[in-house]
Amino acid sequence: MRALLVELNPSSQPVTPIALGCLGAVLEAGGHEVRILGLGASSRFSPASLARFVQDFAPRLVGFSAYQRNIFHVKALAALVKEAAPGAAIILGGPQAAFLPESSLEALPDVDYLCRGEGEAVIGVLAEAIAAGGNGAAVPGATARAPCGGYATGAAPALAKSLDDYPSPWLSGLLDPSELDEAIMLTSRGCAHDCVFCHTPRASGRSVRSLSPERAVAEIAYVARRGSGRLWFADPDFAFDRRRALFILEEVARQDLRAALWLEARADHLDPELLALMKRAGVHTVAMGLESASADTCRQLGKSLDPERVRLAARQALAAGLDVELFSQFALPQERREDALCTLRFVQEAGVKIRGNSNAQQMHVYFGSKICADPARYGIRPLRARFDPCLSLGTEFETEWMTRGEIESVQAAWRAASQDGGKRVVS
């Protein structure tokens, strides 16, 4: 069977769709022919050329990564695919799909399945069901239209014991690092914490799953040696397991890979020894989640991390010769305008340059987060009475503590302080 996996970032540059690579590797290992399209604002394709491509490739399975920012593009692309390849089954994955209400399928007439669980665990079973012609039975980890009306969501999928049991998109040759300016790596996923603005705790059941350190090193070495040497880690917290992090970094340093690494870690998992080793291994930037400089606000968020601990880790990282990026947000529950401006001062005083990922952004309320489930409880006031069923609140809100005008004034203050006009790299 042929499978086409697509990611479209309508307002940013195309990137390596590592998540699609992981799914593609599973499909390929299952004997399917896989193509991946990573598209962005600068990608050149026309509706006609895309339709021609779909017609020629004639996929039976087409998967899209869905986010709040691209959901309507995905919806339109799904319509194009259905017209060009009427027999194709269309699957939506990614964070938006994982938590979309079942009823949103109503608004997505060309979408056949929403992937709800760990992608690798779902996609293989789904591919088999599609290849078999689909008998209407619920597929584990997926939501579909039920044969007699309504929707059916399958049971939780059976996960592989270890992420090592899934084939690697790099080592399998599906993704070719030599064709990328920067490779995105994913060696661990999930988060044990419970921040109310984040969907990851719910998606991961507050547990972290990771590749074994040996497999992680094998992937890093493969990519670094064959590609540009610029590696960007999508792991939510690279240092969640200190021994594992030490092993990986020691190996990367020992193998003299001459790679340039960007990674993110929780501040309370960092210390001078680990930071020095990061430097030795080729890490140029370590990013940390600050969220807010107000300890009270952080407590409200369930962040369980004192901003002063972030300040200390930032200082230690800078002393180790690393660049530091601090993720922060404004318009958070119980945050006043003055608190938000304190966060800007905090980042400046920490010696962190206000650019790239250190440009703060308004909190995005996404499906799957505790705030999205009950905005009123967190003092979030939607700015409109009705949202398209495919969209969560996003940034269309004000709070009990900040009006829309105040939120915009905080945004303006960050932009004014920014060295790059507020262009955040990671959303």
Binding site: T16, R44, A48, L80, L175, L391, T395
Partner: protein, 586 residues
């Protein structure tokens, strides 16, 4: 990524529709039918320019195309179009209001959709409003504000030079296009659009970094309704070069048409960016213009086109807003001038740049290079010394030491030259030129055996082709000094083979043949030296001596006479000539 990306050439990211409307309703209807089939061939994010002559024709064309664009976007909901119709602002702005409102109503459904989707509108209206000659620029600015309030982003277009009150637009909020000089009508608009399009393309590449700034622009094919013709780009439209009938449009938009010749595109991009300057000035975008000119200049130089590099640098100098910006542009201008063999002008540019720069060390280095090229060795040495003393991190210390050593060699301050060259060796910068000049120092101080070792080390390091003959020449010269003539002949033969135009090589080889009494070969060498420089008295005299020893007295006398005529003070010719004449009893 293996197996990723859409196969085939990239589609066009824009199109220019030249619509006269003179064919009547039926022809327009037919054309719009064709257009409906063509729009899905455009890139998913594209620009559509709509040009026509005359107020009524412009309005009709704009609304016809907007209808087609809306239909296309309604069918293809991931695509987005920026539609840029050329419209006219009359001298009575109030009379235009109905037109602007109607225009806004075309975009309204997409603005509603954008609100619903929490996204950017997929149909953006960016009208190009030609401001009538009698219209007040302030009224034009007010029209622009009116349109902006309705979420349109207008460009005001002025024929006949920048608007008199350009300052009204220079907050960067209102975009202004100015027709290039002597161009009016559609060709003026087309040229102004081409200039802006090329500039924006280069600016985007500058901001993205790493891209080839001299690559062809993302071409805007032109479809000419009235003529029933297509043009691969605006430049070809302006020149009337045709690329097929309307049937060719699909291939052009698909990107399947043959690419234009790259060198032509490079010249076009360069000229277009220069043409864009008046519009950018009127739009308050000179900072971006300066950035583009500077980077474009560097790109031209890297491609070996120093003349265009210098031209762009000169523009960047003129647009600099601070001493530092001016210094950076002057530095580049000076480097281009140096590469163009104009060291005097280069020195002037570096001198000016040094005055505004926070890094005078770097300028001192390049001023030294310019002086050295003008053979002002004492001044050059002073600048190099000053560069070495500066705390600048930008000064390439090794290069300065080397250049300074060369100055000292030329000033015959050989001990100092040696000290500098040995510093380079100690810093791990051993290279063929360093050993070459160390050898020159040794030989200049009469240590030919030591010099021979140095030259042989230079040879072992593989000198560049341009230096190879010199290294071999010096090895031969040392061997000659050491009276090892046969070995010298072998080396010098290789030297003249490597550089047959080197008169000194033929001269020295001839001398070695003379010393080994191989006079016939010596004669051949001196004749070759004289072919290179017929005014060399010493070579005529040397020729005479060898002819004399071969017993060809008459020829020898003639050669000595020529030498004597060229340089009567030349004792080497005068004495043997006298002797030969005496032998002949003259």
């Amino acid at each position: 990524m293996k197996r990723a990306g859409l196969p085939g050439p990239p589609p066009s990211a824009g199109v220019v529709l030249a619509l006269s409307g003179r064919g009547g309703k039926r022809a327009r209807g037919k054309f719009l039918g064709r257009l409906a089939a063509l729009l899905p061939r455009l890139n998913w994010l594209s620009d559509v320019y709509v040009l026509a002559e005359g107020e009524a024709a412009r309005q009709a064309a704009a609304f016809d195309v907007l209808r087609a664009a809306s239909d296309h976007l309604a069918r293809c909901k991931f695509a987005a179009l920026r539609v840029r119709p050329l419209l006219t602002m009359s001298s009575a702005p109030a009379a235009d209001l109905a037109i602007w409102e109607r225009l806004a109503s075309c975009a309204a459904p997409f603005q509603h959709e954008a609100y619903e989707h929490c996204a950017e509108p997929r149909l953006l209206l960016l009208p190009i409003i030609e401001v009538a000659a009698r219209a007040s620029p302030l009224a034009a600015a007010s029209t622009a504000c009116f349109l902006r309030e309705r979420l349109m982003r207008p460009t005001l277009y002025f024929e006949g030079g920048p608007p008199p009150a350009a300052a009204a637009f220079q907050d960067g909020e209102i975009d202004v296009l100015v027709a290039p000089e002597r161009d009016a009508g559609l060709s003026g608009v087309a040229r102004a659009i081409r200039a802006r399009h090329a500039f924006e393309g280069v600016l985007r590449r500058v901001e993205e970094g790493g891209a080839d700034l001299l690559a062809p622009c993302g071409r805007l094919p032109v479809i000419d309704e009235e003529e029933g013709r297509c043009h691969a780009c605006l430049a070809r439209f302006e020149s009337g070069a045709e690329d097929g009938g309307l049937d060719a449009a699909a291939a052009l938009l698909d990107g399947r048409a043959a690419a234009p010749e790259a060198a032509g595109c490079r010249a076009c991009v360069h000229a277009a960016c220069a043409d864009a300057e008046p519009s950018l000035a009127a739009s308050g975008r000179l900072a971006e213009a300066r950035q583009v000119f500077l980077r474009l200049g560097v790109a031209c130089s890297r491609a070996g086109d120093h003349a265009r590099g210098e031209e762009n640098a000169r523009r960047a100098v003129a647009l600099a807003a601070s001493g530092e910006e001016r210094a950076a542009a002057l530095l580049h201008q000076g480097l281009c001038l140096l590469s163009l063999g104009r060291p005097g002008a280069a020195e002037e540019a570096f001198a000016q740049g040094a005055r505004g720069s926070a890094d005078p060390g770097l300028f001192a280095f390049h001023r030294g290079r310019a002086c050295f090229a003008r053979q002002e060795d004492r001044a050059a040495a002073g600048f190099f010394e000053s560069a070495l003393r500066s705390p600048s991190r930008e000064v390439p210390e090794g290069d300065v030491l080397y250049e300074l050593a060369l100055c000292r060699v030329r000033l015959e301050e050989l001990a100092e030259a040696r000290r500098l060259l040995e510093r380079l060796l100690a810093a791990g910068r051993a290279s063929a030129p360093v050993f070459l000049y160390l050898g020159v120092c040794d030989r200049g101080e009469g240590r030919s055996a030591a010099a021979l070792d140095r030259f042989r080390q230079a040879l072992a390091l593989g000198p560049e082709r341009a230096d190879l003959a010199r290294v071999r020449f010096f090895i031969g010269a040392c061997l000659k000094d050491l009276e090892r003539y046969d070995e010298a002949i072998a080396e010098l033969s290789l030297a003249v083979a490597a550089d047959p135009g080197d008169g000194a090589g033929h001269n020295l080889l001839g001398f070695c043949f003379y010393k080994t009494k191989r006079h016939a070969e010596a004669v051949a060498c001196f004749r070759r030296a004289l072919e290179i420089d017929p005014t060399s008295a010493i070579d005529h005299a040397n020729l005479g001596s060898n002819l004399r020893d071969l017993g060809r007295t008459e020829e020898a006398i003639a050669a000595y006479e020529t030498a004597h005529a060229l340089d009567p003070r030349h004792a080497f010719a005068r004495a043997p000539l006298a002797r030969l004449r005496e032998e002949r009893g003259q």
